[in-house]
């Protein structure tokens, strides 16, 4: 076995040093009746060549996006081109095969990378601080709700109906252990006919029990939210505003959530750090402002300091918030971050730079605007015609059944979006379409043509 270096004579010599008769005798601490007998029930071992052939065979059972199979799905993972340098650098073993940087003298590369990542997230979100990353946007949102509960010492949270449904479900899972059956701490807040959070409903739902209001922008329907009025209402009621951004590219053009009044900003940077890879791993983002909030924030933090000679260096800091010190009083049980993908995110944003990031966003906006206008020209109506969008929007299919339309366009080589009925039964005719800079004009024309042909008239 190529990963195992021991020869039979090595083993014999080592057993002699140990004073053991055989390898079996090393396991005598396991009581006889508990020992597993026989071999584990696993498929036979493979050589590297066989393994890659197997992976090729499995891969062939998938239908990934390609120029003959156009895919327009978003819904929380917005694919973008990942420059070759991102893979080349992050696959360096010095980054990928290092552990958490607990010995700073041996981990300055990882630590400076995290420090840069934190800086970039602060820049995007407009927050004073950002942590070293979370698992993903959904768990980051749930952690934000828990953090708001700690900060306000209140129990309830209001989640916008337009928050990613899987994020809402994740919040439910996280709070379930802290709530009792007769004390549902999460409530929804409906959307207006223009696809934004309903401020009147929000005002009515707010109370002195509410720790936070969670609003996503662009929201699940791709609609941009002005967070200011919701933040105002939340603050007036003594609650915090949690903003969720799972397409951080939008923040090249969209006002920073903290500048619009968000107290905690979380998000997901998956599309900017990796090919989609079935959604994960990617990177969860988490930022906040103010000293008190900093201390209540979950996750790791890298900070700058100096060594004995005054040379600048980086350490993991404020770790007393974390589980390995605070144990049952920790702010969260999160232990790992998604360090390597945070690094990838930082490398990509460094390559794009200030102007490139804006240009990439404008390309996305332009493609989505073109697709929307072309669909409108073909007679499609938008689910939220009055709303502003970035690179994702929902249309209504004339036949009334988006799932069925998807099944037909798929056959024509166009997976044209996500049927909203998957998450919102009230939108059977809704199809959520996401565009990105890699879609060429002719791809979009093909999308529009296919939908017009297969979309079915009522």
């Amino acid at each position: 076995m190529r990963y195992l270096p021991h020869t039979e004579s090595d083993i014999a010599r080592m057993l002699r040093v140990i004073g053991a008769e055989s390898i079996d005798s090393l396991f005598e601490a396991i009581p006889e009746p508990l020992r597993h007998q026989g071999a584990l029930d696993l498929p036979p071992a493979l050589s590297e060549g066989e393994l890659l052939r197997l992976m090729g065979e499995l891969g062939a059972k998938n239908r990934p996006p390609s120029s003959s199979h156009l895919v327009f799905t978003g819904g929380g993972v917005y694919p973008h081109h990942i420059p070759a340098a991102v893979d080349a650098l992050s696959l360096r073993g010095e980054f990928s095969t290092a552990y958490t940087p607990y010995q700073p003298e041996l981990s300055q590369g990882t630590l400076m990378g995290i420090f840069e990542f934190q800086t970039m997230v602060c820049e995007l979100f407009g927050t004073e601080f950002a942590n070293a990353s979370m698992y993903d946007g959904a768990s980051a949102t749930a952690e934000a709700v828990l953090m708001a509960r700690r900060l306000t010492r209140r129990r309830h949270a209001i989640l916008a109906h337009t928050l990613h449904p899987e994020y809402r479900q994740t919040c439910e899972t996280y709070v379930a252990g802290l709530d009792t059956a007769d004390d549902e701490s999460l409530q929804g807040c409906p959307a207006t006919p223009s696809g934004q959070i309903d401020l009147e409903a929000l005002e009515a739902a707010l109370s002195d029990e509410v720790a936070c209001v969670v609003v996503q922008t662009p929201n699940f329907f791709g609609v941009l939210e002005d967070l200011r009025p919701a933040a105002q209402l939340a603050h007036d009621a003594g609650a915090l505003l949690v903003a969720v951004v799972n397409e951080p590219l939008a923040l090249a053009l969209l006002e920073a959530p903290a500048a619009m009044g968000a107290d905690i900003v979380v998000g997901d940077g998956t599309g900017l750090c990796t090919q989609p890879t079935l959604g994960a791993p990617g990177v969860g983002l988490f930022g906040t402002s103010g000293k008190k909030a900093l201390r209540a924030m979950p996750g790791r933090l890298a900070g700058e300091t100096v060594d004995g000679q005054g040379r600048p260096g980086y350490v993991l800091t404020l770790s007393t918030r974390e589980q390995h010190i605070r144990r049952d009083k920790a702010t969260s049980n999160i232990c790992t971050n998604h360090g390597l993908y945070a690094l990838r995110f930082a490398i990509h944003l460094a390559l794009l730079g200030r102007e490139g990031f804006v240009q990439l966003a404008q390309l996305n906006l332009a493609k989505a605007t073109y697709a929307r206008e072309e669909l409108k020209a073909k007679g499609f109506s938008l689910l939220f015609p009055d709303a502003s969008h970035f690179n994702e929007f929902a249309v209504r299919v004339p036949s009334g059944d988006a799932c069925e339309v998807l099944a037909r366009t798929e056959k024509a080589g166009v997976t044209c979006g996500i049927p909203l009925a998957r998450f919102y039964p009230e939108h059977q005719d809704g199809l959520l379409i996401a565009l990105n800079e890699m879609h060429r004009r002719e791809d979009i024309d093909r999308l529009v043509h296919t939908l017009a042909t297969e979309g079915g008239q009522p």
Partner: protein
């Protein structure tokens, strides 16, 4: 290790300086020594006006590697806190009995002061813990 003779102490390493109905409270040089808490990085104190029972935790002290609760040495009400510590937690290490004081409390019962340890008793306690 020697401790100021004019102060009283608790078993949980707080010191108490009682004058005219008011007690100033800090933590001892032993508690902040390198072998115990070490370099203090953050002090979390209660708000003025809050009341505590004896031995009730009323705040946290964090060092680089640990976090410890601090306890009310007697029942009473908080009347002042040391706001300097917010920006300069290192005062606890540099000046534990002067600049590094934590807060002031009015005891519910001044007689409780008599139940606290004197310097000799506290020295013996520390010797047994070290």
């Amino acid at each position: 290790m020697e401790f100021p003779k004019d102060l009283r102490y608790s078993k949980t390493h707080e010191w108490i300086r009682y004058t005219e109905g008011k007690a100033r409270i800090g933590i001892s040089a032993f508690a902040v020594s390198a072998e115990q808490l070490g370099d203090i990085t953050l002090v979390e104190l209660p708000e003025v006006g809050q009341s505590f029972a004896a031995n009730e935790p009323f705040g946290n002290i964090e060092s680089v590697k640990s976090v410890s609760e601090i306890y009310a040495p007697f029942a009473g009400k908080v009347v002042a806190i040391n706001a300097e510590l917010d920006d300069s937690p290192e005062l606890l290490n540099e000046s534990p009995y002067e600049g590094g004081w934590l807060l002031e409390m009015e005891p519910d019962d001044a007689a409780d002061m008599e139940n606290l340890l004197d310097a000799a008793a506290y020295t013996a306690l520390v010797a047994s813990e070290a």
